[in-house]
């Protein structure tokens, strides 16, 4: 409990220092930035040293995130409602014309085709790398959601949908083909 409090305090100190850096103009921000990242690193090191490498890293991630939220919340700025619409500084999503087949193909790429491409890469990894069977299976299994997520992000964004189609189908053919060629 004491160690966790210290880890959380370290995370809070780091976030507060980065916040100070963020509010400072010019070269004066450098020491605060360094101090902030050093405090994060110290909190992480303390967590690992006291709770072990496995648990410590994830305890630190959790507590530093919450400490940072608290620091962000402390800088809350209350604004008055304006009559006129405020001009947004944020970019707007692109307005692109779409047809039914492009929309269908886009979601097929993000869904089943992306899944099979991800599986192709995951299975390729586990068949073509060395090490314990269990380790290759688990890492190959972890590759699948990461690659599928990346495929989703890419294919839903890319305006050139046929390029994405060709690439993903190529990945499926090569991933599964080379894996079946070698075997487990």
């Amino acid at each position: 409990m004491l160690w966790m409090t210290l880890v959380g305090a370290g995370g809070g100190a780091g976030a507060a220092a980065l916040s100070r850096s963020w509010r400072t103009r010019g070269s004066g921000r450098v020491p605060w930035t360094a101090l902030g990242w050093l405090a994060f690193a110290a909190a992480m090191a303390l967590a690992v040293a006291t709770l072990g490498a496995g648990r410590g890293v994830f305890v630190a991630f959790s507590l530093i995130s919450i400490a940072a939220w608290i620091v962000v919340a402390c800088g809350l700025e209350i604004r008055q409602v304006r009559r006129r619409k405020s001009r947004s500084l944020a970019p707007e999503p692109v307005e692109r014309p779409s047809t039914w087949w492009r929309g269908t193909l886009r979601w097929l790429l993000a869904g089943p085709i992306g899944l099979f491409a991800a599986m192709g890469i995951g299975i390729f990894y586990l068949t073509w790398t060395g090490g314990a069977d269990q380790t290759r299976l688990v890492i190959g299994g972890m590759i699948v959601p990461v690659v599928w997520a990346a495929c989703m992000a890419w294919t839903l964004a890319d305006n050139r949908i046929l390029r994405a189609t060709a690439f993903l189908i190529g990945v499926i053919v090569f991933g599964f083909g080379l894996s079946m060629l070698k075997g487990f």
Partner: protein, 506 residues
């Protein structure tokens, strides 16, 4: 940033600001589309997941009279086993003995026979009461498979994890002001700016947590499909060969009747390998019976050792040094996903972070709706539907918990019916009420239901003499209920002021 004007010469733009606007807009389009498609299911999975972090606490809350047991002797475990098997009668397939620890201070015995039974035993091993777990299992089931047919439900939840992970990738790529806005939190003024600030600050500062839960959730949810395809492609459809790599060796089949397995000599042979977490017995009343002891070291994330005995003695031993890296990673997935790895502080942290990720889904849709309104293309129908989805859930979950309290012997069917019925009724209200009214009444009714739940439980279960943890859960329910009612009342007051003085500031 007016100070920048005073700096002479041309200043190089920060790296993230150099990302082409067209790229950011395209990624934002994908982020928005994915969020809209998955928002409701992400919201339900994350909200139920936040509650599932406190699974052990809810189990304790459902069983306030369970005697506190911190450690049990091998004799007590054997007594509990004998009594549970005797109660179950014929056809015992498996028995699961969950050993007491800090988060579960009781001995639990579950018997998988013709009729399943689940018991709490005291420190001497005597069964004292049936285990009540309707609400705890309901919330866990909702998170893991949405109470759909299990295979499909788990896949849908796994796909939701992938969608969340993908949203994190596109969300970061679509946020070139990530550093410039790192600490901005502006409330009031433009609703779109307010929601964008909340969405981005919660998303960015909680990023490690969001990656951990989405990746582990997606992995666990996709295991069946991944193993199925792998088995088909590489093992001629034999997926058992993959599972066998991770599971303890099965005992040899021999269905001839035999006396109940005696655990005492097995306990005597166990090495000092940490704390026994669970004992799984296979066919304990057959000649082919066996017992698997799983150990846990509280300093580690995953299980640390497993030993299995049949009637001939120890036949399977796996110490900490025998676990491959892959097995350790796999064993860590569940604890990391649910926050079950470092006691109460991390559970509370996961609860707060879980509410944050739940709000990402809520706020994402609010940004989309506010953007449409700003552009002169409001979607009041979708605003009402989204308000009904958001506020139907806490009300439905609170109603399901009330049902579990009112009818503790009822099965999952009642709770699913109550939760689903309330969620559908809220959606039906979207046809009649404006979004703001749905939000206000949703908060008020959810808050009232939580207050009733806390008071009813406190009054009827254990009284002041009950365990501290049970009182903490009751107080948390009352506090959450009071907060929601307070927010609803504040919203109603603002709405009245707007009605009375439409020209003034609301």
């Amino acid at each position: 940033m007016s100070g920048a004007a005073a700096i002479p010469g041309k200043k190089r733009k920060p790296l993230l600001s150099r990302i082409p606007t067209g790229f950011v807009q395209a990624v934002l389009k994908g982020h928005s589309g994915l969020g809209i498609a998955f928002a409701a299911v992400i919201y339900i999975v994350c909200l139920s997941g936040t509650l599932a972090v406190f699974y052990d606490e809810f189990l304790r809350w459902e069983n306030p009279d369970a005697p506190r047991v911190e450690a049990v002797s091998p004799e007590a475990v054997q007594t509990a086993l004998e009594q549970a098997v005797q109660q179950a009668g014929e056809g015992v397939e498996h028995v699961y003995l969950t050993m007491p620890d800090k988060d579960r201070p009781y001995l639990r015995v579950s018997v998988d026979a013709a009729q399943e039974s689940d018991w709490i035993a005291d420190g001497a091993g005597d069964l004292v009461a049936p285990m009540r777990d309707a609400w705890s299992e309901f919330i866990l089931g909702l998170h893991i498979y949405l109470h759909l047919p299990a295979t499909w439900g788990i896949f849908v939840v796994g796909m939701t994890g992938v969608a969340l992970l993908s949203s994190l990738i596109s969300g970061i790529l679509a946020h070139p002001r990530i550093l410039r806005d790192a600490f901005h939190l502006r409330i009031g003024g433009s609703q779109r700016l307010q929601e964008a600030d909340l969405h981005n600050r919660i998303g960015v500062w909680g990023l490690p947590f969001h990656i951990v839960i989405s990746l582990t959730g997606a992995f666990l949810g996709l295991v069946t499909v991944t193993v199925g395809v792998l088995g088909l492609v590489m093992f001629d459809g034999d997926t058992d060969r993959i599972y066998d790599l991770f599971l303890a060796q099965e005992p040899a089949e021999n269905p001839a009747p035999a006396p109940l397995l005696d655990l005492a000599p097995m306990f005597a042979q166990l090495p000092d390998a940490g704390r026994i977490d669970r004992i799984t017995l296979e066919h304990p009343t057959e000649q082919g019976g066996a017992a698997l002891f799983d150990f846990r070291n509280d300093a580690a994330l995953a299980e640390t050792a497993s030993y299995a005995f049949d009637r001939g003695g120890l036949y399977y031993a796996k110490g900490a040094e025998d676990f491959t890296f892959g097995e350790t990673v796999l064993g860590s997935m569940g604890p990391l996903h649910f926050g079950w790895f470092s006691g109460g502080v991390i559970k509370i942290a996961y609860g707060i972070l879980g509410l944050g990720v739940t709000y990402l889904a809520v706020g994402g849709i609010k940004i989309w709706l506010a953007r449409r309104r700003d552009k002169g293309r409001p979607a009041p129908g979708w605003e009402r539907v989204w308000a009904a989805v958001v506020w139907g859930q806490p009300l439905g979950l609170a109603a399901a918990a009330l049902a579990a309290l009112a009818a503790p012997a009822a099965g999952q069917g009642l709770l699913i019916g109550v939760w689903g019925g309330v969620a559908l009724a809220a959606l039906a209200l979207a046809a009649a009420l404006p979004a703001a009214a749905i939000g206000r009444w949703g908060k008020m009714l959810s808050g009232a239901a939580l207050i009733v739940l806390g008071l009813w439980h406190a009054a009827g279960h254990g009284g002041l003499a009950g365990p501290a943890l049970v009182w903490i859960v009751d107080l948390a329910l009352l506090a959450a209920g009071a907060l929601l009612c307070g927010l609803a009342l504040g919203g109603m007051r603002s709405a009245r002021q707007r009605t009375v003085a439409p020209q003034g500031h609301p």
